[in-house]
């Protein structure tokens, strides 16, 4: 779920006079952060979030096919291929100093840099499971595709559990 599509000024305008206190909190939280981080780091954060968004959308497309009565294995294979290509870029998207402690708008936990081998393994797992899913989709074997989706979803979740901030 992306969270930065709503712009503050428009809303602030609409809320003038109604709730000054809430507006202040929103501005206070935003103002000091965003500027501290170097601009190349800010742009790599955008690149990696875009990369993950594409992975998420492709995974949705795959699950959408599985929910349909007769899944289109071509769509599943292509989407798994997209995920595989994007997954290979993940490790290049996390330069040191671009985690939550930098104050940037990111959910990347510092554990990514504290346990680099584990993070590398977790990212590689998505590369491997997406490749396996693409292969399974290529054969059109429904049971193998189901298993492949489960494994790939598991690799998403495992990595999120260890390396992504969860504020629920």
């Amino acid at each position: 779920m992306s969270s930065n599509r709503l712009s503050r000024p428009v809303f602030a305008f609409a809320m003038i006079g109604a709730l000054a206190a809430c507006g202040e909190t929103a501005n206070d939280a935003a103002a000091p952060e965003a500027v501290e981080i170097a601009s190349e780091d800010a742009s790599i954060i955008e690149v990696r979030q875009g990369n993950f968004e594409e992975i998420g959308d492709a995974f949705k497309a795959i699950r959408g096919q599985l929910e349909a009565g007769a899944p289109d294995f071509g769509v599943i294979e292509a989407s798994a291929g997209t995920i595989n290509a994007n997954a290979q870029r993940i490790q290049d998207h996390f330069p040191e100093g671009t985690g939550v402690d930098s104050g940037a708008d990111t959910e990347a936990l510092e554990s990514i840099w504290e346990k680099p081998e584990e993070f590398a393994t977790a990212a590689q797992k998505l590369v491997d499971t997406s490749a396996a899913l693409a292969a399974a989709a290529g054969t059109g074997d429904m049971a193998a595709v189901g298993e492949g989706v489960k494994n790939m979803g598991g690799s998403c979740k495992a990595c999120h559990d260890n390396f992504r901030l969860d504020k629920d």
Partner: protein, 225 residues
């Protein structure tokens, strides 16, 4: 000249009104800052409050009830363009104000309801009824949940424009009565007889019960069989 203090808005109306005024910005802030845990908790409170206001619109006091303030759309349009003849001593929502209330409640209800299904289990928070729908439906509802917010913002902007228009151009204070529940008139005016406290508490219990059943996962459990 007598300045009669006349009751207009009962406490359930005021409670829900100011609850909305606090919760809607809080819903925006929590979503914007990724505080999805709070977004969902407050969303359930907002859902309960909207349900409460809708129930109270059926069984509440005179000015709270839909059948007292929902006029024809034609009357609403006339009112909007200042062509609706209304006694200066009339209390409660004007025809266009009534439509504004209905629209605000409907959009808030839609927003809260869509939020229940929103999200993706592989990507952050999911609403308590997310598991009842497919991934594509949830994705579609999530998009509309984000778009619907701007519809709500537009309605709130209109609402505030009207209230401040009355305040500064029409020289009529609508904000005070929404806080105190009463307004002063130069002439005796038939005020709003307060609704039944028992009924209000029943509405509150019912609305809160529904939101709790959803929030605790009971509803998802029942419906998934």
């Amino acid at each position: 000249m007598l300045r009669q203090k006349t009751p207009i808005w009962d406490w359930p109306v005021r409670l829900s009104h100011w609850g909305f005024a606090l919760l809607v910005p809080a819903m925006w802030w929590t979503a914007e800052n990724g505080e999805m845990g709070w977004h969902m908790r407050l969303g359930l409170v907002l859902l309960a409050l909207v349900l409460f206001r809708i129930l109270w619109g059926l069984v509440g006091s005179e000015t709270a009830r839909f059948n007292s303030f929902l006029r024809s759309p034609w009357a609403g349009l006339q009112d909007l363009f200042g062509r609706y003849k209304r006694s200066p001593l009339a209390i409660g929502h004007s025809p266009s104000g009534g439509w504004s209330v209905a629209a605000l409640l409907l959009v808030m209800l839609a927003q809260a309801s869509m939020g229940l299904f929103a999200g993706d289990p592989y990507d952050g928070a999911t609403g308590p009824l997310n598991s009842l729908v497919g991934v594509m439906t949830a994705d579609w509802l999530t998009d509309w949940h984000e778009t619907g917010f701007w519809v709500l913002v537009a309605l709130i902007a209109l609402h505030l424009l009207a209230v401040f228009g009355y305040q500064f151009l029409g020289k009529r204070n609508l904000i005070g009565p929404m806080i105190t529940g009463a307004a002063k008139f130069d002439k005796p005016v038939a005020g709003n007889a307060g609704g039944s406290t028992f009924r209000a508490l029943m509405c509150l219990a019912l609305a809160g019960g529904v939101a709790t059943a959803i929030g605790t996962g009971l509803v998802a459990h029942w419906l998934s069989g």
